[in-house]
C-alpha cells in the first residue's frame, strides 16, 4: 500500500510537472492543493513535500537558467533576501496553526489564484528571443522607487505564503518581476525560480525540525515533477498552451473548492 501511494504520487507529480510548465505556473503551486485535496496524507507532509519539490526543481533548473542568462542573479538577490526571511515566519506560523485552518486558507488562496490566472494577460516567454539586454542595476538606480518598494513588499508576502503553504509561488513572482521590475518574461520566469530556491531553502529547515518531510512522499513527488517539468519544457514550443492553461485553472479551482468545502465542514460542523 505504502509503495503504491509512492508510485501513484510519482505519476501524479509527473503529470503535474508537464502541465504546470506549459500552463505557466510553478509545479509546487499545483502540487500542494491537488495532493491535499485528493490524497489522505498528513497535511504537514504534503506541505513539506511541496516545499521540497519547489526546492529540488528550482535548484536543478538554477544552473541552466543562469548559464543561459534566463535567470538574473542581480535581480533575484534583493528579493530573495526579503522572501527568505519571511518564508521562515510563514513556515513557523503555518506549522503552528491547525491543519484545517491552513487547508481552508489554501483552498481560498487557490480559488483566488485560479481567477488571477484566468484574467491575467497570457503572454508567453518560452519560445521568443526577446530583450536580453535588461539590466536590473539600472532599474534599481533609476527606476520608480514606489515600484521597487512594492516589489519588495510583495516578495515578502510571497515568501510568507511559500513558507506557510509549502508552495513555490512562481505564479505570483513572475508577474511582479515582469510588470513592476520591467523584466522580460523569460528573465522574470528564470529569476523567479532562483528566488524560489532561496525561499524554500530557508523554510525547509523549519519543516525538517518538525519532522514534516517524509521521504516516501517527498522523493517520488520530486522525481515525478523533475522528469515531468523537463518534458513539459521540451513541449513548450510545440503545443498550444490555451487548453492546458485552462485545464490547470480548472484543476486549481476544483482543488481549491474541495479544500474549502471539506475543511469548512471539519471546522464548523
Amino acid at each position: 500500500m505504502l509503495l503504491i501511494y509512492s508510485v501513484l504520487l510519482f505519476f501524479i507529480s509527473f503529470f503535474i510537472g508537464i502541465i504546470a510548465v506549459i500552463g505557466g505556473i510553478g509545479g509546487g503551486s499545483l502540487y500542494v492543493p491537488v495532493v491535499a485535496a485528493f490524497f489522505p496524507f498528513s497535511f504537514d507532509f504534503i506541505r513539506g513535500a511541496g516545499l521540497f519539490v519547489a526546492l529540488g526543481s528550482s535548484l536543478s533548473a538554477g544552473p541552466d537558467l543562469i548559464k543561459n542568462r534566463f535567470g538574473n542573479l542581480r535581480l533575484a538577490l534583493p528579493f530573495a533576501l526579503s522572501g527568505s526571511a519571511f518564508s521562515i515566519f510563514g513556515a513557523r506560523i503555518g506549522l503552528g496553526t491547525d491543519d484545517r485552518v491552513i487547508s481552508l486558507l489554501l483552498g481560498i488562496l487557490m480559488v483566488f489564484v485560479s481567477f488571477f490566472m484566468l484574467f491575467r494577460k497570457t503572454e508567453r516567454g518560452g519560445c521568443v528571443s526577446d530583450d536580453e539586454k535588461y539590466n536590473p542595476a539600472d532599474f534599481f538606480k533609476n527606476g520608480s522607487k514606489i515600484r521597487i518598494l512594492s516589489a519588495f513588499i510583495i516578495f515578502s508576502g510571497i515568501g510568507f505564503i511559500a513558507g506557510m503553504f509549502g508552495l513555490g509561488a512562481g505564479w505570483a513572482g513572475v508577474p511582479v518581476l515582469n510588470i513592476l521590475m520591467g523584466a522580460p518574461l523569460r528573465i522574470a520566469a528564470g529569476t523567479s525560480s532562483i528566488i524560489i530556491s532561496v525561499n524554500a531553502s530557508s523554510a525547509i529547515w523549519v519543516y525538517l525540525k518538525n519532522n514534516a518531510v517524509f521521504p516516501l512522499i517527498a522523493v517520488p513527488s520530486f522525481l515525478g515533477m523533475a522528469i515531468g517539468s523537463r518534458i513539459g519544457a521540451s513541449l513548450l514550443c510545440r503545443v498550444k498552451p490555451g487548453f492546458i492553461r485552462f485545464a490547470v485553472i480548472v484543476f486549481l479551482l476544483l482543488s481549491g473548492i474541495r479544500l474549502v468545502i471539506v475543511n469548512y465542514g471539519k471546522l464548523f460542523f
Binding site: L3, S42, I66, S202, W205, L208, K209, A212
Partner: protein
C-alpha cells in the same frame, strides 16, 4: 572577470553540488523502498505515519540518509551563496556581496535553530 563569467562559475559550482546530492538522495530512497518491501512491520509503521502525521516511528538508516540529503541540498545554497558572495566581493560589488552574505546568514539561522 566579466559579469557573465561570474555567473557561469557560480552556475558550474552549483550544478556539481546539486547533482551529487540528488543522486545520493535517490539511491537512499531506493534502498529505503527496498527495505519496506521486505519488512512488513516497518511498512505498517510508516503507513500510519504517512496518513496520520508523525507517529514516532523509529526512522531507519536510509530514511535518515534521505532526510540528510535534503538538509545538504538546502546547505548547498549556503555553500554556493557564500562562494557567490566572495565572487561579488572580489568584483567590488559590495552591495550584492552584502546581500548574498545576509541571505547566507538567514538560511544559517534557520538551519541552526532548525535541525542541527
Amino acid at each position: 572577470m566579466d559579469d557573465f563569467n561570474l555567473e557561469k562559475r557560480y552556475a558550474a559550482f552549483f550544478a556539481a553540488v546539486v547533482k551529487v546530492l540528488i543522486t545520493v538522495m535517490i539511491l537512499a530512497f531506493l534502498y529505503h523502498a527496498f527495505r519496506i518491501v521486505f519488512d512488513p512491520e516497518l511498512a505498517a509503521g510508516y503507513a500510519a505515519t504517512m496518513l496520520h502525521g508523525n507517529q514516532g516511528v523509529e526512522s531507519d538508516f536510509p530514511f535518515k540518509t534521505v532526510i540528510w540529503s535534503v538538509k545538504l541540498l538546502s546547505s548547498s545554497v549556503i555553500i554556493s551563496f557564500s562562494f557567490l558572495s566572495i565572487l561579488f566581493f572580489r568584483k567590488k560589488e559590495f552591495v550584492y556581496s552584502f546581500i548574498t552574505f545576509t541571505i547566507v546568514c538567514i538560511i544559517l539561522i534557520s538551519a541552526v535553530t532548525g535541525s542541527f
